[in-house]
């Protein structure tokens, strides 16, 4: 249904202003919440929070973000430890290593963001197909000979046959997996 009214007219201008003003108000005015019950409340104007969190947040930081030219930097910016850890592990693998991925709960103790890299699919996605064994894969767990030890702001690989106390680490894994 096309309008046969003229493009330039006072009424067209009024409608244009109405539309624009409505939009500007929607994205700028925080009207708070209405309490429906003790546990439930709804946003009167959800578009305010949506614009702030999903649109304006990018517009505000567009310049600085666009300076991030490297694809790897962007991966790190988005996935942080979930990208950095698998990359570090694969970069430090030696021929013959088969890494046991720790249980998620163990890694979560040292990482603020929600840990996903302990899932072998995510580990593979962040790096490439590697000789890894998921903690949940009890059948193949015995084939692992390299283990990931985490500490605050530290990561290391412990290899069977070295002086490292693997059994103690595995015990910590086991304890964490029960949490």
């Amino acid at each position: 249904m096309a309008s046969s009214a003229s493009f330039f007219s006072l009424r067209a201008l009024a409608l244009t202003l109405l539309l624009s003003l409505g939009y500007v108000l929607l994205i700028n005015v925080d009207l708070g919440e209405i309490q429906l019950s003790d546990t439930k409340s709804i946003e009167v104007n959800p578009y305010y929070g949506w614009y702030e969190n999903r649109v304006d947040v990018y517009y505000r930081s567009l310049d600085s973000l666009n300076r991030m030219r490297s694809w790897r930097d962007r991966m790190f910016a988005r996935h942080v430890a979930n990208y950095e850890t698998p990359v570090w592990v694969t970069n430090n693998l030696q021929p013959g290593d088969t890494v046991l991925l720790p249980p998620r709960q163990y890694a979560q103790k040292y990482i603020k963001a929600e840990v996903t890299w302990t899932d072998p699919r995510i580990f593979t996605y962040m790096t490439r197909l590697s000789p890894i064994v998921a903690y949940a894969d009890t059948a193949r767990r015995g084939s692992a000979n390299t283990y990931i030890a985490l500490a605050p702001r530290r990561i290391s690989l412990m290899r069977r046959g070295s002086t490292a106390n693997i059994d103690s680490l595995l015990h910590v894994y086991e304890e964490a997996s029960r949490e």
Partner: protein
């Protein structure tokens, strides 16, 4: 222009030509503003089918073969030139300026929003867990190994740990292959392309039903729906699915309105694309086609309606079966264990719990859906009270069927959670709600008044 940009433009152009060619073969006569976006969306679907055909034919998947199959599709779709030529002639006709000042304002507002969609889908890597653990994991390895049936499905490190993500309906995965093969590091820029194309399509649809000012308002209401907006740059299967499903729905409604079976063919293509992009959709399609029978019988007569409905259902089933039965059964060495995902049938208690959580909590969540759902409900009630008419009843039938089908899916499949699967299933309903509002007698009434008001001053 660098090589990535060049191949990107050529890919879009060939997808476009493929879609236009297919519409030309069907000899459907519709507005250029609808033809252009609908053709690109159709071309994207057909391109993924072509890439899948490469896999079935054991041809190595590479930039060359992915582009080559598209070139073949584009040439093939336009090979019967005398038949498709009138469509191109219509496209070349001199355009008419129909935009009003407020349409331009709405377009400017949308550009500000959609710019972020394009930027984010180009700039940011893939972030949703499901995509990293499935769609994109398989796509990336497919380009390394040259086949969709690749080491992801066989490597010992992932054996038995794939869950259901790598087995999702293949459209999004195949698009990731296409766009990664072009040279986009993260691939999912296609999602922004598809969403903007769909926004264009919605803009054209809405303006054909209702006064352009109301159309612009409703159009913006969809674009600023928070969850809808977010998933235009978050890689999942659901947004593409909603685009295909809604386009198929629109062609279906127009077919019934015009009593023209050719429009049903277009609808069948898009609904097949919907079944190709999200697994649960085959159930929704079965529901909507069955529930629409009273209208199709009236529009086409018993025999033609039944044949058309069965053909549409079979087309969607074929598209579903190509991946879920043929490919899993014959090609892939492993398959998802679907039986473990069944909750044990249609339990009334579970069904009631899913329905109440879905309708009472999820659908009314304004943080996710803004006021779109509320606007639809209130608009429909007011329309009924004021005009005592509903508008296009088929729209309401389809909306209801989608909701019921989603509840059944949530009841039967344990993996289909209200918070995730069913939440994103609502994407299929939102554009239909907006269309229902545009076709409501109340919107028509308001549109007529607006038109009179605008013209009265102009005289």
């Amino acid at each position: 222009m660098n090589s990535v940009a060049l191949v990107f433009v050529l890919t879009l152009l060939l997808q476009w030509l493929t879609g236009i060619g297919v519409f030309g073969l069907m000899r459907l006569d519709f507005k250029r503003s609808v033809l252009l976006p609908a053709a690109l969306i159709l071309g994207m679907f057909l391109h993924t089918v072509g890439v899948f055909a490469l896999e079935l034919a054991q041809v190595r998947i590479s930039t060359g073969s992915v582009f080559g199959v598209l070139a073949v599709l584009a040439v093939g779709a336009n090979a019967w030139w005398p038949r498709v030529a009138p469509t191109y002639r219509r496209l070349a006709a001199r355009p008419r300026w129909t935009l009003q000042m407020y349409d331009v304002a709405a377009l400017v507002i949308s550009m500000g929003l959609l710019y972020i969609v394009v930027w984010a889908s180009y700039f940011w890597p893939v972030t949703p867990f499901d995509a990293m653990a499935g769609i994109d994991l398989v796509a990336r390895q497919a380009l390394i190994d040259g086949h969709i049936n690749n080491q992801i499905f066989t490597d010992p490190s992932l054996r038995g740990l794939l869950s259901n993500q790598p087995y999702y309906a293949p459209f999004a995965m195949l698009m990731q292959i296409v766009y990664r093969s072009i040279g986009f590091t993260y691939g999912h820029i296609w999602l922004a392309v598809q969403c903007i194309t769909f926004a264009w399509l919605m803009f054209a649809w809405l303006r054909s039903y209702v006064h352009p000012f109301i159309a612009s308002v409703l159009w913006l209401a969809l674009i600023i729906t928070p969850e809808w907006y977010g998933y235009q740059f978050l890689l999942q299967t659901d947004m593409a699915n909603a685009v295909f499903f809604t386009t198929g729905a629109w062609f279906f409604f127009e077919a019934v309105l015009r009593k023209d079976v050719r429009w049903l063919v277009a609808s069948a293509l898009f609904l097949s694309a919907a079944a190709w992009s999200r697994t649960e959709t085959i159930i929704v399609i079965a529901f909507v086609l069955t529930a629409s029978l009273p209208w199709t019988l009236r529009a086409f007569g018993n025999k033609r309606a039944l044949i058309a409905t069965a053909s549409m259902g079979l087309a969607a089933l074929a598209s579903f079966g190509l991946w879920h039965w043929l490919y899993f059964g014959v090609y892939l060495p492993v398959a998802p264990n679907t039986t473990t995902e069944l909750s044990g049938g249609l339990s009334l208690v579970r069904g009631f719990s899913v329905a109440s959580e879905f309708l009472g909590g999820m659908l009314t969540n304004v943080w996710l859906w803004g006021h779109t759902v509320i606007l639809f409900v209130v608009g429909t009630i007011v329309s009924l009270l004021v005009t005592r008419r509903l508008g296009n009843p088929l729209l309401f039938v389809w909306i209801s069927c989608i909701l019921v089908a989603l509840i059944i899916v949530g009841t039967v499949f344990t993996a289909a959670l209200v918070d995730t699967t069913l939440r994103r299933g609502i994407f299929k309903v939102l554009p239909l709600m907006i269309l229902a509002l545009a076709q409501s007698p109340l919107a028509q009434l308001l549109g007529d008044r607006l038109q009179r008001w605008e013209l009265a001053r102009a005289k």
